[in-house]
Amino acid sequence: MSAVWATARAAVRRRKLQTFVIGLVALFCTATVVVSLALLDAMSAPFDRAFAQQRGPHAVAAYDPAKVTDAQLTAARDGVAAVAGPFAQATVEGTGTDGPMFQGPLALTGRADPGGEVDRLDLWRGRWVSAPGEIVLAAIPEDETSFRLGPMSEVRTVTADGVPLTVVGWAYSVSATADGWVTPEQAVALKPSAVQMLYRFTGDVSTREAVQQRLTGVATGLPGGALLAAQPYHVVKEEAAETAGVYLPFLGTFGILGLLVAVIIVGNVVSGAVISGFRHIGVLKSLGFTPRQVVAVYLTMVTVPASAGAVLGTALGVAGANPLLNETFQGMGYGQDTGVQPWVWVAGLLGVPALVLLAALLPALRAHRLSAAAAISAGSAPRRGRGLRVQRALGGTRLPRSVSLGLGLPFARPGRTALTLASLLLGVTTVTFTAGLTDSLLEVSRIDAEAGGDVGVRPERFEGPNRDRTSSTRTDQEVEALLRSTPGAAKVGASRGRTVPALGQSEPVHVNFIRGDTAAMGYQKQLLEGRWLDGADEVVASAELLNKRGLKVGDTLTLEIAEVRTTVTIVGETVQGLPGPGAGLFASWRDLGEGDPFEFYYQVELAEGADLEGYMAAVRAADPGLTVWDNSDTTDVAVVVTGFSTVLAVLLAMVAALGVLNTVALNVQDRRRDLGMLKSIGMTPRQVIAMLITSMAALGVIGGLIGIPFGMAAHRLVVPLAAEAAKVTFPDYVMEIWDPVTLLLMVVSGVLIAIVGALLPARSAARLSIARVLHNE
């Protein structure tokens, strides 16, 4: 073994370029893999981790207090590993006055403490309830700034069935066991309709059916009909997985591209090493290296730099992924624990070296088979002939000689040229795909941002004791005028939302009567079908509403608006509705008389460059009775995906450039003698560089031309997949982002990758001393 190691170590040390290229390819590929895997893991695993951390219940069960006593429930522990409860659970009507949150039906649970054996809540703000009249509300954790600026900070009291409850804290349960928690005494006072039990079971809980069986086991000792409802944890888990579904198509694409590039380049690098090492192999064999030992030498030669690259690449990937992950996923409630997981480290450290080994195996086996006699003679007499005809044809053209020689080079080694072309092609595919993705997402978030406006405003009614603010006394006209006259406003839209009965529909429909610039704030532009409304008998519906109700453009609805029957026609479908109780219709403004101030909602789009904080402060100062919030943030998905894809695309483009670098280095190595000869007859260093760069730039153009359609196809395939997972419909123009200039830029990107890769070895070839070359031949 020592002879093998001595030979391989010497090769690693002395073949600096080869070692460097393999190491760097491994480094970038590993970094790509680690970043992708870390993101994938962050998207899917945190639920499991948070669930384990909070000791989430396998089943959330609601029992009928009329049929079963707390003592009976406590005693029924068949197959139960741990239990929380019994907790009295009341379903109340929230009619708070502090903004739109926590309105409508709320499930409140009486719980003395947030810890316990099951469903350990993350009490992320304030304190736990200690007396009746207090409530802790359920919400995903937010950091101090987002909390202060968001609508949650406005919620100080929740009125539950007319009983005012003071908000003393905020807590989060991954299992969503309640909308809010009160003391057990308070829960009893709210006339609870159910008793909640939270179970963790022993034995199999992998499927819904298995959990159902465990529940049946528990219920056997209880009076019949006591169990009202039960929800296995799979329901929340699947909801969490939906978010991951948005990212999977993107990451899958990058993962596949990354792996392909890695295999192609490593294969090219290693087979290049073997081919240019024919004489080396012959010598080893003539000395008495067995075929196995020769393979071992070659595998060691590539594995050493690949492993070093993998270690650095893992570190780089983790360093790059961590801040992105922390920044992004805190908002999803798993913020406590989103670091890169050990298995990702392991995959990075072992995966790429394993891949390199696999890619090296094929050419190494060729070295295994190579006859020693042939290898030695191949080394001393380089093969010629191939590409000669092309070279002669090019020589007849009027191109400068260095350019025509350069164009002929790729034909001398068709296999190597094909692999280089493939890596350039994949590089351009990646760049094209990423450019398309970024453009589409920017378009989506522009629509989103436009539609939401920059600032949301709602009048409040502040009542009762210990209120520090007074209700607004302005009419809706006056509020709109105020918003328009506050400096910085570009567009102001007003709307009044009402849920009204619709004839023939089982559920009432929410209608937003709009005025001012609302339509012009993106909703009209986002039409998927039909046209915008024009007149009192026309409405536009959001895609979500149409999907839910099975309606389509052209249908009519008979609504009862302010006790008057009105028939309206749906004339258009738009991407999204106004914020609020979702999925609403847009209708033109009409006088509905007096109403709840919450019905009114205003959104403001600021002029380019206007100061958002300043505008919000000015409005708050002018009328403290208005709640004002920042609505300008772009969607998380867009930020994450564009950020990650840019990083990954840059990494992959660099890997492709390295592939080119390797090819040029190998070509120079093979053609040392020709280069020496060309220089000896008067080719200048500049011409040598021109020749070698031309050879690769030509491939860059071809790779670009073929890679672009691939990238466009990937874009066309992947973006809709993600949209489907996100359950949104995009207008067509989101996909139509290609224009001749962008496409030209993509071709240029291919040429650029080729030139960047070729530059370094071309320069060192230009500096090659003729004397040295001739001395060694």
């Binding site: 002879a3 010497a10 073949r15 004489r279 080893l284 008495g288 290296f289 075929p291």
Partner: protein
């Protein structure tokens, strides 16, 4: 005078596609002999040498070297055989560019299981004997042709081979360096080293060899004993 046979070829034939590089060659080399093989370019000299070195396999016929049938061995056995019993030198030296002169030579001993330190020690002895001790840490690219060939000879001698094979050992050297290599080969033969030298150079053949085999078109055209000059 010993009569132990080191090489015996029986009707060896080697075809490359249509052409027969060797066309029924029978040859015996005894221990202590120095045999020169001559002939016009392309007559099959290197092919003959490759057969004896086990670098290539005959199409037909038997190749016996040091009591073993090389034509029946698999690649691995051939490699093990080569490392223990054969030394080779080539026209273009075929040193490993990645290793220093000394490590090139030491590698041959490491292959037979010596530790790196032991191998280096033995290599140094040879460097001293061949007068290249001063060049031990230089890499092949920086050595002159004569120096490279002496390093190659040292490497070939490392494992005290039963047979030393040389394919045009002076072909790439100027006359002075060529002389030095010739002297080296004569000295080696005189202390008992069996030699097979392929060459174009009559002087080399006549100075170093005790027997001359002339090849033409893959056949032995003439065999003669030489009086060394």
């Amino acid at each position: 005078m010993t009569t132990e046979t080191v090489v015996r070829l029986d009707e060896v034939r080697k075809e490359y596609g249509e052409t027969a590089a060797l066309d029924g060659v029978s040859l015996t080399i005894r221990r202590g002999e120095a045999v020169a093989v001559m002939g016009p370019s392309g007559c099959g000299k290197s092919t003959l040498l490759n057969m004896i070195a086990g670098l290539d396999r005959p199409t037909a016929g038997e190749v016996h070297v040091h009591g073993e049938r090389l034509d029946l061995m698999n690649e691995t056995k051939l490699a093990l055989f080569r490392r223990h019993h054969l030394g080779m030198i080539f026209q273009f030296f075929n040193l490993l560019d990645d290793l220093s002169a000394l490590d090139n030579v030491a590698l041959a001993a490491q292959l037979t299981g010596s530790s790196a330190a032991t191998a280096r020690r033995r290599a140094l002895e040879l460097f001293d004997e061949l007068g290249i001790a001063g060049r031990r840490d230089v890499y092949p690219a920086a050595l002159s042709g004569g120096e490279r060939q002496r390093v190659a000879v040292a490497r070939a001698l490392m494992n005290r081979p039963a047979l030393l094979l040389a394919d045009e050992p002076t072909g790439a050297l100027d006359s002075k360096a060529g002389e030095q290599v010739m002297d080296l080969l004569i000295d080696l033969n005189q202390i008992g080293q069996t030699l097979l030298i392929v060459t174009h150079d009559e002087r080399l053949a006549h100075r170093c060899a005790s027997r001359l085999v002339e090849l033409a078109d893959g056949r032995i055209a003439r065999e003669s004993t030489l009086d060394r000059v």
